[in-house]
């Protein structure tokens, strides 16, 4: 190894140490932000700047959390059962919406006759807010898993179709021509070029819709359910227990953030070819 190479090797090690320090520092800031938020919240309650009955302190919420792990008061389910009920509904709806919506959007974007055929129906479906489906869905499917999953499905489906459609439209003309010179057929080009070109937009769609799936779910459960975080929140409100309400909110927030983080990981893995900063 030459002297110059040794030097480069050394500064590379330095660079890596620096990067590690920087990442640690950023992680610290992230934790700090949450801690400061909780501390202010706790202080506000302790010094009685707000009514404890309206806003319980974080320490109290934590206590409630521990209790609620096995207690079924007041809504008839433990916290774990509520979480499972909510996840089951949202993930079922999300899964089927992606399974049908993404291919549909991709095909609409690729085959113009198909687009003309499907588009009118889709344009009619699109402006109806998912919540507005609730009465109809309840009549046909009751208030069980199927009913709520259908509401989630409708929410996610629309943005999956729109984003996949827009994504595949971005396929470069040159790439399509290039595939032709290879002798590829339109289906081969669709799978080899169209679909990967659409992926960044598809993921944007998923990221947006997992958020809206989650919030629609909570709304649906507040209207019609026997379990779930939205239901727990609604019952808590009914019996005037702010601790249950806030615990439900915190759990909803934490799970929502976790789902987004999982999706980001999947995205980073799938789109590792993309320019990263």
């Amino acid at each position: 190894m030459s002297v110059k190479q040794q030097e480069l090797e050394k500064s590379w090690q330095q660079y890596k140490t620096q990067q590690r320090k920087k990442n640690l520092y950023y992680a610290f800031l992230t934790v700090l932000s949450v801690v400061v938020f909780l501390a202010i919240w706790e202080a506000v309650v302790r010094f009685q700047l707000v009514n404890v009955r309206h806003l319980p302190a974080p320490t109290v919420i934590f206590q409630t959390f521990i209790e609620k792990l096995h207690s079924t008061v007041p809504d008839g389910n433990t916290l774990g059962q509520n979480v499972i009920a909510s996840l089951q509904v949202s993930l079922t709806g999300f899964f089927f919406a992606v399974l049908i919506g993404v291919p549909l959007g991709l095909l609409m974007g690729w085959f113009e006759p198909f687009d003309s055929f499907v588009r009118p129906l889709f344009e009619l479906l699109r402006p109806v807010p998912p919540i507005a489906w609730i009465p109809v869905v309840v009549v046909f499917l009751g208030i069980g898993l199927k009913a709520k999953a259908t509401i989630i499905f409708l929410t996610v489906f629309v943005s999956c179709v729109i984003n996949s459609y827009a994504g595949i439209k971005l396929t470069s003309r040159t790439h399509i021509n290039l595939m032709k010179t290879f002798g590829a057929g339109t289906w081969e080009t669709f799978f080899k070029v169209g679909v990967p070109s659409a992926m960044p937009m598809v993921f944007t769609g998923l990221r947006v819709s997992i958020g809206s799936a989650w919030s629609t779910l909570v709304a649906a459960e507040m209207l019609a359910a026997k379990a779930g975080l939205g239901y727990m929140l609604q019952v808590g409100r009914g019996v005037g227990d702010a601790r249950i309400v806030v615990l439900a909110m915190v759990t909803i927030a934490a799970l929502g953030a976790t789902l987004s983080a999982l999706l980001n990981t999947l995205e980073a893995h799938t789109l590792k070819w993309k320019e990263m900063r």
Binding site: S172, T174, N177, L178, F182, V193, P196, W273
Partner: protein, 254 residues
């Protein structure tokens, strides 16, 4: 050497685009022959219809009139014996260098091991050894064009079509790439149709130069440069003479 064996005959090609507002003629009655093994340069001003003409030769665009003959046979549609280096970035961003070069071989039904070998040979030939697993965004403009060239050569085409492959590069890199393309051409003898709007580049590379007029494109004049040996000295007297002869014929709009 049987230099005058015709490889491709282009006869009275014309192309008009139509839309609801009207129509626009991009190519008007263009005819020329391409000889086997030659380095043919099509020289024309910007927006004169060069890309459209190449797309027609490659079977990517419908022609409005005329015909293209490959070894005496009329062809319509894509011809497997031709391969193209595109003007705009044509690497798939979601594939590595190796995967990009392998892609056309896959469509020729080559098995995985052989594909890898052939692709590696051409990656080495264009001087990108060690970058096989890089993604396009990690490469410079010149390196990307090298991948495009490797990919076009890898299928052993009879004819290579290159559409302003160096148009986006800075002057220094461009000059380097011109030398590279000559080296590759001498190593892997193929018929090349090379499009450019740069007179110097045309004179440096071409065995023959077909000068096109501005829109609609027509053949203005054909220059035979085969007397000048390659690599050419761009400040030699003969080179400068031919160069000025061509620029006298050229539209100022170039």
């Amino acid at each position: 050497m049987d230099a005058l064996k015709k490889c491709l005959e282009v006869e009275h090609i014309s192309k008009t685009f139509y839309n609801n507002k009207g129509y626009f003629t991009a190519i008007d009655d263009v005819s020329f022959d391409v000889h086997e093994g030659e380095f043919l340069v099509l020289l024309g001003p910007g927006h004169c219809g060069k890309t459209v003409l190449l797309n027609i030769l490659a079977g990517l665009e419908e022609k409005s009139g005329g015909r293209v003959l490959y070894k005496g046979q009329e062809i319509n549609g894509v011809n497997e014996e031709m391969s193209m280096v595109f003007q705009l970035l044509s690497l798939m961003p979601f594939k590595t260098v190796m995967e990009n070069v392998e892609l056309p071989l896959k469509f020729r039904g080559m098995d995985k091991k052989q594909r890898r070998e052939v692709a590696q040979h051409y990656i080495d030939l264009v001087g990108l050894t060690g970058f096989e697993n890089a993604y396009p965004h990690q490469l410079s403009g010149g390196m990307k064009q090298r991948v495009g060239i490797a990919r076009a050569y890898s299928v052993h085409p009879e004819i290579l079509i290159m559409d302003e492959p160096f148009g986006q590069l800075d002057a220094q890199t461009r000059y380097l790439m011109q030398q590279e393309i000559l080296r590759i051409w001498q190593e892997e003898k193929r018929t090349v149709i090379f499009v450019t709007n740069n007179i110097e580049e045309a004179c440096y590379l071409g065995d023959r130069i077909i000068l096109l007029s501005s829109c609609p494109a027509t053949v203005k004049e054909i220059f035979d440069m085969s007397a000048l040996a390659k690599p050419r000295d761009i400040v030699s007297r003969e080179f400068l003479e031919i160069r000025s002869k061509i620029s006298d014929q050229t539209d100022l709009s170039m």
